[in-house]
Subunit: 358 residues, 4 copies
């Protein structure tokens, strides 16, 4: 076990189940002196809050963060920061039936296989609510990065078959449409697609893209602590992620060396940079000073109202229809989760990098 810890210096431990008393995180290793208040965290949590459009569950969850420790006189003290979000909207009664069978695409069976039983209420520990602790910690990491000149832009690249156009890329659109797509036309088309999914009692997936600027070169640890390896592990720890790629990603596998190599050059200020960025800002597992670019593939929400075949715990077949308030797509709400995981990874590696040289 012991899988709820992440990081070497900037180390987080998340806890909590969907329908327990609450969820939260303890951040150990946050440097002292960082200005921090609950509003900093709330701003991030609000980005993953449900009920903000017809494309997310209409459940009402205030998800109000309370900082319990580690902050004094408005600044971090260097001691662990414990953040608590109480669960408010549990209806445990709704879940008695779910206890008896295994939902397709969910972790019901694997939890039983591992532990012998499970907290079946709302998915328990495998619920999307588990990401609240990550996002709260990600808000803190983002403040550190921001102070170091690093910024992270994360958005929806595609939903189902609808992908943004690089020509129409408009950063301001990300917060202007409910799908976090930087392309108004694609966002419109994706909404139409989602409406048809909803009508068909079905769900959709998508791809999230993340661009990090301002990272100094040399961050990341060869061999197993490579920046891309650490990002891959962090992003793949998000429940619904099924694919991860950096820079040219899977396309690089089809290219020739002469096409994929990025020529080094200098910019107008004499700084070393590259003419292209197929590498996605990472060479040999270390940042090269150019923007770090990665994408994550998110599977369609497994909870659908449509009738599905499955089995009971004893193996007998059963047909189910998952009622209730589920997201037809989780991609837009997952954008801030991806951003948080990136922020946590970068912060830890930046702090580790402080001891790279005597």
């Amino acid at each position: 076990m012991a899988g709820s810890n992440l990081g070497t210096i900037f180390k987080i431990t998340t806890w909590g189940e969907s329908h327990g008393k609450g969820v939260g995180v303890v951040i150990d290793g946050c440097p002292a002196g960082l200005p921090l208040c609950e509003a900093d965290i709330q701003k991030f949590l609000d980005r993953r809050k449900p009920g903000q459009s017809r494309f997310s569950t209409p459940r009402k969850e205030a998800d109000a963060a309370e900082i319990l420790s580690g902050v004094f006189d408005g600044k971090t003290t260097g001691t662990p920061i414990s953040i608590l979000v109480r669960n408010e909207n549990q209806h445990s009664g709704d879940y008695s039936e779910i206890a008896s069978y295994y939902r397709p695409g969910h972790a019901d069976y694997t939890f039983d296989a591992k532990y012998g039983f499970r907290d079946y209420r709302g998915g328990g520990r495998s619920s999307g609510r588990e990401t609240i602790g990550r996002v709260a910690a990600g808000a803190v990491a983002s403040k550190i990065l921001s102070g170091m000149g690093v910024s992270i832009l994360t958005y929806t690249r595609s939903i189902g078959p609808v992908t943004i156009s690089d020509e129409r890329f408009d950063r301001s659109e990300i917060s202007a449409n409910p799908l976090c797509m930087p392309d108004a036309a694609a966002a419109k088309a994706a909404q139409d697609y989602l409406d048809s999914c909803i009508r068909n009692q079905d769900s959709a997936g998508g791809v999230i893209e993340c661009i990090i600027t301002g990272m100094p070169a040399g961050v990341g640890e060869p061999v197993f602590g490579k920046l891309d390896a650490r990002l891959a592990g962090a992003i793949f720890s998000i429940g619904a992620v099924k694919g991860f790629e950096v820079g040219a990603g899977f396309e690089a596998a089809q290219k020739k060396g002469s096409e994929n190599n990025d020529a080094f050059t200098t910019d107008s200020e004499g700084n070393i940079t590259k003419k292209t960025n197929h590498a996605g800002g990472i060479l040999g597992g270390m940042s090269d000073g150019d923007p770090i670019i990665f994408r994550a593939a998110v599977k369609p929400t497994p909870s659908i109202a449509r009738t599905q075949q499955t089995i009971r715990k004893d193996g007998t077949p059963i047909e189910i229809s998952i009622a209730g308030r589920h997201d037809p797509v989780i991609v837009p709400r997952a954008v801030v989760v991806v951003e948080s995981m990136a922020a946590l990874t970068l912060t830890d590696l930046l702090l580790l990098n402080m001891s790279a040289r005597v």
Copy 2:
């Protein structure tokens, strides 16, 4: 720093540079009582040895493994297993020129940026020789897995634009052609493609696929220690990997929930299984008992003889042509590296799983 360690219980530490005295690995936490000899390790190392076809560097490297500790009377003792492979074929003189500039697609610049200088001989720590320690440790992990009924099949899925056909899939072909492709026709086409790359002083990439059978359900640790997250981190720590996906992978992002969900069912012996396996054998970060399937995208070899633009350390432009003995494609040699990283990850998680229940 401190990036050369991997694992929680079954923990490896690799060391060594391309042109130093040698490379190696220390395995800490290997259970006692496992039969082990140098031949077990050599078998794995020979799979990554160069010079076995015209598609890999003609360098001659014996890569003979010596077990220095942790084995007594033919069995592991539970204490650290130190494995040493001496470097034999160094010509440090060849590399003086390389010290002065930054090769595109290589880690030269990022090493300098991080540490202030680098061991420039043959790529130093970022050389492909660094994977020898991984493969030696992977051989040990594979013996443990084998004893637990777990087997791993790894092969080349595609090289450049040439992909195997699932209809022609022939397991025996993997060791029958120099490209490790389980499809004789694709292997032929890929060889033609590589020959044209060689003629054009260029290189190719590809995709490696891995299928693990026999894993009991429930292995992997929620939340950050998910089986897929740990695999993603391990596979992405291999130098040239730019993408990673599990099961349906990036395609899942385009599917609907009703298409992507795998219905649970029971097999003829009453064991729980799934009608399809889009999940790739992992649900909620834990093995579900079905085959675990993942793919890794490998970029084209950055070292090409063709003329390239780059800069010297001081920023002045330079045209280079990388002479020497380089692999036109590293995918076939990387197959055993991917398999080793998978074996290491699975072994560690299987040992961790022993304490899942009281």
Copy 3:
């Protein structure tokens, strides 16, 4: 930083300051299926609660534990167990003066030196309240150990100059007197000594002893994970501990080999045991099946009402008299903290030991 985590499999993270909103712990890696309720934890917390005799601070602290996660239907689920104790009795106003100077024997100066400032209210993170998280986690570990047949007896061996007599050792006395001494006469003498300390506005220290029975042989990891090394680190992480010894301890340094060696023998049931136990139940860093015995030296409470010399933050000299409600001796309240740290260490090593052999 990152110093608030302990353990490899059974891993705890404590958080909280004396006068923040609360203190607590997250336990990651607790096996599933352990019966657990808040009363189990409360029983341990009550043993460290102040105000139970005239020898501890008269502060009233309910210290009620709330389990926020990781328990379902009365059993642990294998997911993180988060335990919260709200602080109730803060009077932050009392501490404004303390902010300006450095109390002798306290961590005021070192916190400032490390972090640039500190949460000066009641000692902040270095307060004795920090141990609440340890004790709550220790209660959980003790339940696991108990189920494995391991039991821990911890008591006060000495207070100031008063030491228990081995001849008068009476286990039932430990809970019968306020000083947790297994010797009524010594407890009486120690109370007289403490009364004189109180009259003189002074404080006392003492020695705590711990005896663990029922540990199977072979637990503990050579080399750096030795059972005694892990115990030493865990016990020395308790604020006021200045010495630690196992078995014959410092006396062993004066003995001859022929005196200190323990002859192996078999007991009436044929089990391997030793004729003597100078080793304290640990050989080569692993339990040998005999009782594990260690002692911890606890310094006198640094907060005393008597006038002391010290300096302000700017270096100017000042005379202080620490008013308020302080323990004249913390040894009796620290007994359960020592026991908890032992329980946490043993539990982690027992779980690690599950993968010692294939």
Copy 4:
């Protein structure tokens, strides 16, 4: 398992058995740019080499260190430093008898209990030769510390009943007598005592003291990463250590607060210091800028020629007399081991401290 790793940033992994092919260490996380050569390491190894006086085993062991990686152009590169010492003087034939019984005071029985069998040749992994890896790594850590202005003085405080006099303390004596005692008269008396032990086929223990100067204030991590806790764990991981104390140590338990508290003051340059140093330079688990002082109790060598009672593996009683070349006292040779473990601990905590503040 997994007990052969130590450290968070400056991380070492030792390996090797007494009579295997060799022993060694891999140091991961050493900052780049540190001048380092084999002579730096040899100097430390020579301090623990046997056969330097009649008070250590007459075995001849060259113990020549070979640096296999991580150093280029005379400086550390930031990548793992692998150091190998080949074993030369193995006579495995000598040890066949030992395989059948359990030596008192040794780890024979506990190794069998843990792993099912053991490498019985010369103690295997529990041999004193295991410390070679620690000392080699300690030499590297000491170079880093030295560059930061930190120096470590370690010596024998007592052997058997003979203790140095603080009045006669003479630093130059440490390297002038074979017992590393900073007091010529005590060294003479101790030699007489050891001669009588040898005559009686017996052995002696002793106490090692270590004084570290030049540490900046604020190093060490509350709560579990306290400087004293980390030192305690590191020192107690040395085979024969049975006790550890800091500053006033066990004596503090008998003192009153008014006696034990150290008044803060300023020195002639206005720096904050303390009038006394009962704390041993550590407050709240962080260095306070004053000398760090600790002591370790070392038990008498368990291998003695005198006849001893013990049992065979099957439980039958046997009388043994351990022939061969054993140290009548290991304290002088352990001095550099203690110093190395201190250096490793301090270095890791100094590097961790770099990220204490934003």
